[in-house]
Amino acid sequence: MDGAVPLFRMEGISKRYGGVRALEKAELSVTSGSIHAILGENGAGKSTLIKIMAGVVAPDEGRMMLDGSEVTFASPAAANQAGIVCIFQELSLVPELSVADNIVISDPPKRFGMIDRKAQRRIAEEALARAGAADIHPLALVKDLPLSRRQMVEIAKALARKPRILILDEATSALTAADVAKIFGVLKRLRSEGLALLYISHRMNEIAELADQCTVFRNGRNVASYAAGTKSDNEVVELMIGREYSHIFPPKPVRAPATAAPVLEARKLSWTDRLDNISLTVGAGEVVGLGGLDGQGQRELLLAFFGVLRGLSGQILIDGKPTTIASPAAARDDRIGMALIPEDRKTEGLMLPMTVRENLSFAALDRLSKAGIIDRAAEQRLIDDMVGLLAIKTAGLDIPVGALSGGNQQKVVIAKWLMRQPRIILLNDPTRGIDVGTKQELYQLMRKLADQGAAILFYSTDYDELIGCCDRVLVLYDGAVKRELVGAEITERALIASALNIHGEEMPVRGMAKTPARGADA
């Protein structure tokens, strides 16, 4: 690496979680005074790598060298001592404590054995100023701050620890554009001060602006390292996925748009400040997409239909009739026949320690029971059908569903709802974090269900999916429908332009399409 002695080096690092191999003989070198970008698809091993660096998890094998001598970190505190500080994707702030408490949390200033609040406040103010977030009051409780401010606190907290190596894991995902600009300024200054920075992001334009050195991870291995700017975006994407990137989408039917009466309709639906006068229709046999940046109200819209939100204004109509849906139990009732594939399959879709069988039949127990007693033969038949239909790969029906791969877990979530033969299917980003093969199967399945007459409302953060799967796409911005795209209008360019709420069609965006910016925080 340019002949410089690496400040930090990892060699032959491997880590397994149960049967899953997260890292396999991974290598990484970090040099002072440079910004090192790490790229890779979800599940490529990036997160595990930095968790090991930061002392959060222990590697199964391999060694780490700091300043040329071997080190091990028993805890995050030990890594911090050595000067390695990480800003994690999942925020590591304590919600009930104040901003100042959080900033100094790992090593508060002390006076007579007690925490010196004045000194603490001073340190906090300095750190916030360095991070360009002097607008945040040090006494405010973290739980009262919006997500973008919390992320700034997180960065200030890292700076207050005077790191030698600073790791940023998707640290800009919730920030506003102005904040991102500030942070970039801060990061460049830190680089000139001789820090080593490790930068993990899905946003190619950010990496292009910041990085000196890039390393690409794939399937738990580092597959390439190169100086920034020496490869084109397309080459990088190929390195990440290992082959030409192409989804195969099922053909869309040619149809006269919206001739059939809508099955699901919303009229002027509003909820707190998150949903703003949304009107939409979904007809039988139609796949309607929800687009836009993440966090623009798509999730809330699906929850509103599914009876989870209170205090809605406006109307929901099922088969043209105004309907009040007071709970998921009401939503799944035969009269409505709705299903929701929720955002987080691990906490909302499944009970991980329970068996595949129990999870599959969980939403249909009322149908499979007579007088409350489960008809086990009927249950078995239906489960066999579903396992066959979705080609769920499992070692058996009586193993915990948590032992399945992510893609198969997601299939179980979908199958559990298909057991009720829903007429209206709401999907909340169902392909997040699952493998390409399974994604393809899900696209096929979605179209098949629509052809059988289901009305499908499909939210995705992947624009390619919206383009490939949907008959129409509604783009949400700040809780309102900004634009409706039909048929051939659904292009990457149109999606991105309307997602950012701009009308120009000449957006310079290759790369952003794969990873729509998370919530440019309205």
């Binding site: 979680y17 799944r332 909302e348």
Partner: protein, 328 residues
Amino acid sequence: MSETTIGGIAGRMPKFIRRADPAVLTAFACIVLLLFLGSLYSRSFLSPEYLLQQLKVASFLGIIATGMMLVILLGQIDLSVPWSVATGAMMACAAAAYGPVGVALAVPFGIFCGVLIGIVNGVGVAYLRIPSMIITLATNAVAQGLMVVYTGGFSPQDSATRAMRYLATGFAIPGVPNAVIIWALIGAAMVFVLTRTGFGRTVYGIGNRERAAYLSGVDTRRVVLIAFAISGGLSAFGGVLLAGYASKAAQSMGDAYLLPSIAAVVLGGTSILGGRGSYLGTVAGVILITLLQSILSVMQMPEAGRQIIYGVVIVAMLLLYGRAPASR
């Protein structure tokens, strides 16, 4: 109570009989060990009469622990057991004072009062989202207050009805005490409910992840409410039987059943965090605790020593196999 379970959701199956569940096996092994130790102390320890007597004593705890288990499977706890037991006993005896109708309705009325306590608990936990530990302590205090007012602070003079005494001490089948039969029936019903009904599946589902159960379109609040009502009813039924056993109710008769009922469930391998456990384990836990109590009393151990040994044994056994997974 945030549990850091980074890599720790080891696969466990909530099935009635799990192949070699270490907790249930350990509990049964401890039962055998206790019987062995007891037989060293006294020959009569292995006699059928003695064992049957123990089973009879165990059945009161067994019935109460059945309700407790249902609640613990939900990831909740019922600390109102002491005064649910006492309320059931006292109200059944009280009803008996109201002529032949009262005598006839004594048992159902006692159970009904327990169900009422359980419903208050259930409404608090399911609909008001008050932590179960807190709301059940509060209803326990209220039930105690009501009973103190009712009895004037003394043990009530009303005595148990003949039906109550028959249920607790009679023999419908020669050689098998009725209390044991009742426990067996309740236990069988519980096994059936847990393994074969939608309600049982839902209980496990809620215990594992209430959010996912709710988003599956299950009315989780109703299930929680019903579970607490059943727990209250079974506690009260236990109290009714205990009153029949002793011929009358007493002020603090339920105090001796809170810790043992929780301990029996947890020692039987049911996770205190909910979602995992089998009734077979609870049966083992109940018998284990009863034998332990019996041996201590045969050895004429004073109350103080019993409490100490009790607490130590429970902590020791939980440390053996009831620990939360290590973080990291």
